[in-house]
């Protein structure tokens, strides 16, 4: 009997069934799908070009402008629809980068132990200690291409990987002493082989939860940065919509739609991701599964 045959299979299609059965995860997946479609089909769904400023500013919701226009004359609905793209893209890319870093750092530290672990844990602790928001603000000034989306992505990734790295390291510590891993090592498998072919599959749910969490966090971070006015306020995203609503006097003139729409969309997207995560949680913890 080889180590491979004894290895518990965590990548069976069984996972989808479990997810789907979980009502929250199902709802989350559908909602996520809706957003993805919204982003992909934006040019078709949006009534106007989001950068079209030919309308009068500050119009209330009407038949021509479902949510009215912004203070500068953009159509709110079109901006909201195209904003989905920015949020999703930045969220996915930043989340992926942060997860990759956390994976590399956490797994290497946890598996190799010793000096490598000390150094990497030290770096992780450092990254946790420096406060995220001020660091982002400072970095935004330093990273070249000031104002572009890539800067936002880089900044969010740099500040967002540490927590997940800690978790992965902890998980690996518990896994590394399991029998099948020891068997693989005794069989002579190389370090990276053991980490990525033997251990990682068992950590799938943790990695996926981490990734989805990172995406959600990145979406929120982008919104927060945009709201503070960092990055280019002329990109079309839900965060910049809120920024403009705040500076254009939306509260004063009672243009509630400009405020509510981007906020709700942000919340719904993040909720979708969170719900999917509920389901993924259930994958690793049978106690949380729906009966």
């Amino acid at each position: 009997m080889t180590a491979a045959a004894l290895r518990p299979r965590a990548r069976a299609p069984q996972w989808f069934t479990i997810l789907w059965r979980n009502k929250k995860a199902r709802f989350g997946m559908l909602l996520l799908l809706a957003f993805v479609l919204l982003a992909l089909l934006a040019p078709v769904l949006a009534p106007y070009d989001p950068r079209d400023r030919s309308f009068a500013g500050g119009l209330p919701p009407s038949a021509e402008h479902w949510f009215g226009t912004t203070g500068k004359g953009y159509d709110v609905a079109s901006q909201a629809i195209f904003g989905a793209r920015t949020s999703l893209v930045i969220g996915l890319v930043a989340g992926a980068i942060a997860t990759t870093i956390s994976l590399l750092v956490g797994m290497t530290a946890g598996y190799l132990g010793g000096m490598v672990d000390e150094v990497l844990s030290f770096v992780t602790n450092l990254a946790l200690v420096v406060p995220a928001l001020p660091l982002m603000i400072t970095l935004a000034a330093y990273v070249p291409g000031g104002g572009s989306e890539w800067m936002v992505i880089i900044v969010i990734s740099i500040t967002g990987w540490a927590g997940a790295a800690r978790l992965k390291r902890a998980q690996i510590l518990t896994l590394r002493n399991r029998e099948y891993i020891q068997a693989a090592r005794m069989a002579g498998d190389g370090t990276f082989h053991v980490i990525f072919r033997e251990i990682a599959p068992n950590m799938t749910s943790l990695i996926v939860v981490g990734f989805i969490g990172a995406v959600g966090g990145a979406i929120g971070a982008e919104a927060g940065l945009a709201f503070l006015g960092i990055g280019n306020p002329d990109t079309i995203s839900w965060g910049t919509m809120l920024y403009w609503a705040n500076t254009d006097g939306a509260l004063l003139t009672g243009a509630f739609a400009r405020l509510v729409v981007p906020g709700l969309l942000l919340a719904l997207l993040t909720t979708a991701l969170t719900f999917v995560n509920f389901g993924v949680d259930a994958l690793s913890n049978p106690h949380l599964r729906e009966p």
Partner: protein
């Protein structure tokens, strides 16, 4: 013993690393503090007089020394508590400026943190006990959704409804300006209405993390073997819940609480910025945008120390509360 010694060693090393990082990052981005201050004074569209610039630079005494020399000075100053003079608030010292802001943050964040923790943990326990019921689903789903609402959005909505439309509460600031800030009853009465909206904004999403965490942990611990054994033994459900379930489940939350306390000073930037609340979070934002190195460094330092101390306390607490951790570590 070794467990605690290692922790302390780690703490010191990370502190050094954080302090060094705090020194490097603001300086890496270049830019001229004098310019930042000046434009703030002159106003956005005004021409900045070169004479003013020269004067401000002379006033600040921005150093020409080589970086490593500045670094050594910086380390020495941090260790001796000589935090220098703020650029933005020249000629007032950094200690004085921070000292004024700290009480506001401590009150706002301290109170809401404790309340959030208490409410969240209690609700989480209750929900976990009723898991599987409609009550559980409704509460979990609602709180998950509410937890994803962007904080500043909630703040804006609150301001819009309560301050602008209804006019019940002041929309921003920490106090009215009719009285000087002082630890007197009269001032507290004056400042109290300004506390409500920021606290409410925090309290809407605050307990949720604790709630969901506690729920998940409890579900986990109630499912473990020792709980099953307890049930088999015939323990009452309540005893089971509290002594077996909650007591174990609360451990991560307790360490989480300690960590959150540590992040007190830095974690409030968004709150204070949106409500213009005179705490250290807003001060930090101001320092960063003004390239006020002395002020920025010191606040970063406090945050780093706070978080690291909290980490240390949390680890120690965990070691004390959960004997398994100590044993695990020794293994």
């Amino acid at each position: 013993m070794a467990y605690f010694a290692r922790r302390i060693g780690f703490f010191l090393l990370t502190l050094w690393g954080a302090v060094t990082l705090n020194f490097l990052i603001p300086r890496l981005s270049g830019g001229d503090p004098a310019q930042a201050i000046l434009q703030r004074i002159a106003g956005k569209e005004a021409r900045v007089d070169p004479a003013q610039l020269a004067a401000v630079r002379a006033m600040l005494g921005v150093p020409d020394e080589p970086l490593w020399r500045q670094y050594l000075d910086y380390l020495g100053n941090m260790a001796s508590g000589n935090f220098g003079v703020s650029y933005t608030y020249f000629p007032y010292s950094v200690s004085e400026v921070i000292g004024e802001a700290v009480p506001w943050t401590i009150v706002l964040v301290g109170v809401t943190l404790v309340l959030s923790f208490a409410i969240g943990t209690l609700l989480g326990t209750w929900v976990a006990w009723r898991r599987g019921t409609t009550f559980d689903s409704v509460l979990t789903v609602t709180s998950a959704f509410v937890g994803t609402l962007p904080f500043f959005w909630i703040a804006l909505v609150l301001i819009y409804v309560f301050a602008i439309t209804l006019g019940w509460l002041p929309p921003s600031g920490g106090f009215s300006g009719l009285l000087e800030p002082a630890p007197t009853a009269a001032f507290v009465a004056d400042a109290w209405p300004y506390f409500i909206l920021p606290a409410a904004a925090i309290m809407i999403t605050g307990p949720i993390g604790w709630l969901l965490g506690m729920r998940n942990n409890m579900v986990q611990s109630l499912g473990e073997d020792f709980a099953r054994f307890g049930r088999a033994k015939g323990l009452s459900n309540r005893r089971l819940a509290i002594a077996y379930g909650a007591r174990v489940a609360i451990l991560p939350n307790v360490t989480g609480f300690a960590l959150a306390l540590g992040g007190l000073i830095g974690g409030t930037v968004l709150v204070e910025q949106t409500f213009n609340y005179p705490g250290t979070g807003r001060l930090l934002l101001e320092a960063v945008s003004n390239k006020d190195y002395p002020l920025m460094q010191t606040i970063f330092l406090f945050i780093a120390v706070g978080v690291l101390v909290a980490n240390l306390v949390a680890d120690v607490l965990y070691g004390v509360l959960d004997p398994r951790a100590r044993r695990r570590e020794a293994a």
